[in-house]
Symmetry: C2
């Protein structure tokens, strides 16, 4: 289990197969986010229809509601939400730092206040892993400490604690044959700290390695430079997961730098704000321009939405405040990023990714993010 096989390489980019108890993942892969055990507004059938393979869910949210014990009793997360393919849960660390206004960190763990009812809770590495063992995802994450990327002293301290917590997470994991526990590289945007962290996490027996603490307010260059430092220091034969990333251009830059797994709320959150990935750039479909537009969102897209509905109809649904609008745009936006990953896998297989990076970036230019998403937004 959890064998990672590289099937093709092109520069630093690689195609891989990652074996999990719920099937083999083809990488590079983009994972839709289903924060509360549902990718908002979509059924599992919709997700299969867009060829989604890996789905992420959030430990912090599921622990608070409906509770990890309840999900365990219901047969685990796959069974509860009826997603038969691979799943990933994060450790809850990021949400504790981003969602809970009152939190107190000590060497052992973190006290935090529920964003739902203000009740007090405590996460430690052991507790986070126990919760994730109850949830039962195929890929689970070590408990880490996220820090403000601009506070160098704190970044170093948080990184060192993250390393100690990584070892405690490994020791606490009770289902290593069923769940792949990934370690997390931290270190802000400091090349020195990132190199130290990559080296340390790579030295531990994790079956996969994540890069955390990015897409939290740093510049695009800082993110890509950090990847340039980190990925060459990671073992070739383990999958690499860039957490909470990304935008279309980040996926392209990430794959080119040897990242295998991505997740982001962007496509579904944009959809709920009427915004769609389109050939001419990101479109706000509420705009009156689209009232009589009989084209699909993207003529070249093979998703149910583009194969079936006009922009005019979707615009009507938005203006009439019909829920179906968010469903239809979510299907398209997710499919657009999954298609981009499929396209990059094809280019890697034929050894043509590197030469096509400029073309891919140009095509997605109009859909690029103006800035990186902020720390508060990494859940859907």
């Amino acid at each position: 289990m959890f064998e990672f096989t590289i099937t093709a390489q092109d520069g630093r980019a690689r195609n891989g197969r990652f074996a999990t108890p719920h099937g083999r993942l083809q990488t590079p892969v983009f994972a839709p986010v289903g924060t509360q055990a549902t990718v908002k507004t979509l059924t599992p059938e919709h997700l299969k229809g867009i060829n989604a393979s890996l789905v992420l869910s959030n430990t912090y949210h599921l622990y608070l509601r409906p509770g990890d014990e309840l999900i365990r009793e219901m047969g685990g997360l796959h069974n509860f939400m009826q997603w038969p393919n691979p799943m990933l849960t994060d450790s809850g660390g990021f949400q504790v730092f981003s969602l809970s206004k009152t939190r107190k960190i000590d060497e052992d763990g973190v006290n935090f206040k529920s964003h739902i009812d203000g009740s007090i809770h405590r996460f430690t590495p052991e507790r986070s892993i126990q919760i994730q063992n109850n949830l039962g995802a195929d890929i689970i994450m070590a408990f880490d400490e996220c820090a403000d990327p601009n506070d160098h002293a704190y970044i170093k301290q948080a990184m060192e604690r993250t390393h100690r917590w990584a070892e405690r997470s490994l020791a606490a994991h009770t289902r290593p044959d069923e769940q792949a526990l990934f370690g997390i590289v931290q270190g802000g945007v400091s090349p020195e700290l990132r190199a130290v962290s990559a080296g340390f996490i790579a030295s531990l027996p994790f079956p996969g390695i994540a890069i955390g603490g990015l897409s939290v307010g740093e510049t695009k260059d800082e993110m890509y430079n950090t990847l340039d430092v980190v990925t060459p220091l990671l073992p070739e034969n383990k999958p690499r997961y860039l957490m909470g990333v990304g935008t279309p251009e980040d996926l392209i830059h990430g794959v080119a730098r040897g990242v295998d797994i991505f997740d982001c709320v962007l496509p579904t959150r944009l959809a709920r704000h009427h915004s769609a990935f389109a050939p001419e750039g990101r479109l706000n479909l509420m705009n009156a321009t689209f009232a009589r537009d009989s084209r699909p969102i993207d003529e070249s897209c093979d998703c149910y939405t583009c194969q079936t509905f006009t922009r005019a109809y979707i615009r009507h649904l938005i203006v009439a405040r019909e829920f179906l609008a968010a469903t239809l745009i979510s299907i398209h936006n997710l499919r657009a990023l999954i298609r981009l990953m499929e396209e990059m896998r094809g280019l890697i297989a034929s050894g043509k990714l590197t030469e096509n990076i400029p073309r891919l970036l140009e095509r997605w230019q109009g859909n690029a993010a103006r800035k990186n998403t902020s720390l508060e937004r990494d859940f859907d």
Copy 2:
């Protein structure tokens, strides 16, 4: 076109086939309501999955938003919302009387205020038919005047005007080969007026006849007694449509009295309020009782929701305020009523409906409505 063939009879109940430009309807049939050119929270694929055949949409709403001219330009309602099977539009009369606070009726038509932006509009029989000709549904309705069922003098006046408007609606219809225009019987709960109205509407060359002005606050007995007066006076060889009805018990009583077509917002509106048709009666799935209930809503149901998800999961979605809850319950509630109609068609075909009416009523007792829906609620 619009041939209605009776294929089986059992007492006053009958099975029929109604030929429309978008396929043959098997009757008795229950039509989900898609007020704004969408059955709320569902895709057309969901509707096909529950074997929906006829879908209703509301002329009043579509005229105001996005506009009937726009829908005509987009290829008509079927094309706009991508529903390839039969559709029905009402005349807008009912909504003018129930939704618009300021209205002024004269012999020629009605002035009313938009519930969206307060703008002033006018419907006449000619205008309603013109709008419905633009929308292009297979079945369209004559413009009628709805009246308070407890005001006998007004009921008579409104019925007489409805008769004059029925003749004007017929004369205004420009697409009789593509759209079946149904006349509407009015007359409140007065057996005398209903008999007069049934006789008059039956004398006009409508390919189908609707019974209006019911499920607007009268008692169940008054509704069923009215059907007992009206249906025997209607021609056998034309389909009969009981507008805005109903609850499961109303469908059973209606079919037994020879009604062929029904529509109601109940199943989808209940779904958005977390309420599901279940064997033990109507369930509010937000209730904590269901937190660990690993059964489907209805073990015997063949819908996607019941074949896939537990009550515990749906309860979680409701508590977590996830849109998917309304989608999943809507699928089940609609399928439950469509299955009831399929079951009744089977019983009619084998001549066993009459003897099974008590059993059907008993089974649905726990899901019966406490009272009839009020005038304000006949759109979804």
